[in-house]
Symmetry: C2
DNA sequence: TCACAATTCTGCACCCACTGCAAACTTGCA
DNA sequence: TGCAAGTTTGCAGTGGGTGCAGAATTGTGA
């Protein structure tokens, strides 16, 4: 009736979001390991047991691996104009994804990045979920490149692009560099596609 | 007197190695999360409490972040012939490191990789410790390139090279491809330095 | 409107990872 | 041999994480 979702599902989404927001903000205020699951669930108004009905662990409440992200990126890659090569298609797809994400919840991304950058455990989670996404993405890239997903090229392309993303995100959240995320990522990808050429010439 | 190390230090090294080997082999046999710290320490002949005197956690007993690796790689990069550019120096340094590691404990590396590849948590640890090493390596590369360590180029070069390493290691442990690790890594780095050129031309 | 089925929430009991502390033990050295 | 320093261990406790079963809530058909 309202928004195509019943009260049940709306409440679930709401609870999940409340837990996630509570986890990020509490961790940002008091430090990740000074925040217990009990604190988070209390702030979100549910029992500690319920927390584990939504997230597999405390870490997941902060990094929140988006289960739809992989499929969405796959579609983005395949939907790019046919004249683009695999690398350009991947770059365009990443640009689209980031533009949309920033518009939806950019300030939350920034807060999350700040917390994550200071906690190796969380950073590890980010890498792991990125790696998961890379596996699916490699399929899409392989399809565009007319290769098998087990070939070196698709795997390396998405892995290297992932590395570029991480570098760009880190620079973005570092506030040293005030430029927007899209620019930073574009710069990194261009350098990558130029064979990591040094300022004075190609990579030697 | 004997090997420059007293009985004390030799025993410590021995215990650490025993714990690490026990962790890897037990995890390989029974699955990582069906093995408890108690099992590992029992197999190594020490008390569970002692386990934590050697490793910060169960994961560390398997991924065992080598505390000297970063400094060693830094030296390797700086010690490469002066005529090599940053990228070539990094490639050569990685080759040296791998050749030495394979000779010392190649079969253990393989077993470890097999375990790690199937456990997101461990994979995450690998990424995290890799990321840690990348920060130090970026300094060395920046020095060779005559740039600041906060510049994009050094960070992206080591991050992309790290991605190439992970891809090469994964392919190596996959046993689909029987070629030796050095070849696989060289191939990945070459493709990277060629700007991730597709089989039919440069990356578009 | 009401009652029933399905789903969600919650408390409880439990396992395991991990830590600080202090006592027992081992090693190195005078 | 005996002492100082370092290592191992047990113990007690915290917190993350899970299975289970009952209570609470919601969707649905009569």
């Amino acid at each position: 009736m309202n928004g195509e979702l019943g009260l049940r599902d709306r409440k679930k989404r709401q609870t999940r979001l409340a837990l996630s927001r509570a986890a990020v903000t509490l961790a940002h205020e008091h430090g990740y390991d000074h925040v217990t699951v009990e604190d988070i669930s209390a702030a979100a108004g549910v029992s500690p047991r319920t927390f584990f009905n939504y997230f597999a662990g405390k870490e997941d409440a902060i990094v929140a691996p988006d289960p739809e992200a992989a499929a969405r990126m796959r579609r983005r890659v395949l939907d790019q104009p046919a004249e683009l090569g695999p690398g350009a298609a991947l770059k365009a797809a990443l640009g689209d994804e980031i533009a949309e994400g920033l518009a939806d919840e950019g300030e939350m991304w920034l807060l999350r990045m700040r917390v994550v950058q200071q906690h190796p455990v969380l950073l590890a989670k980010v890498f792991a979920s990125g790696e998961q996404a890379e596996r699916e993405l490699a399929d899409a890239v392989a399809e565009r490149a007319g290769q098998s997903a087990t070939d070196l090229y698709p795997k390396l392309l998405v892995a290297a692009a992932g590395a570029a993303c991480r570098v760009a995100f880190a620079r973005w959240s570092d506030q040293e560099d005030g430029r927007p995320l899209e620019i930073l990522l574009g710069e990194a990808l261009d350098l990558l596609y130029a064979g990591l050429a040094t300022p004075t010439g190609p990579c030697t």
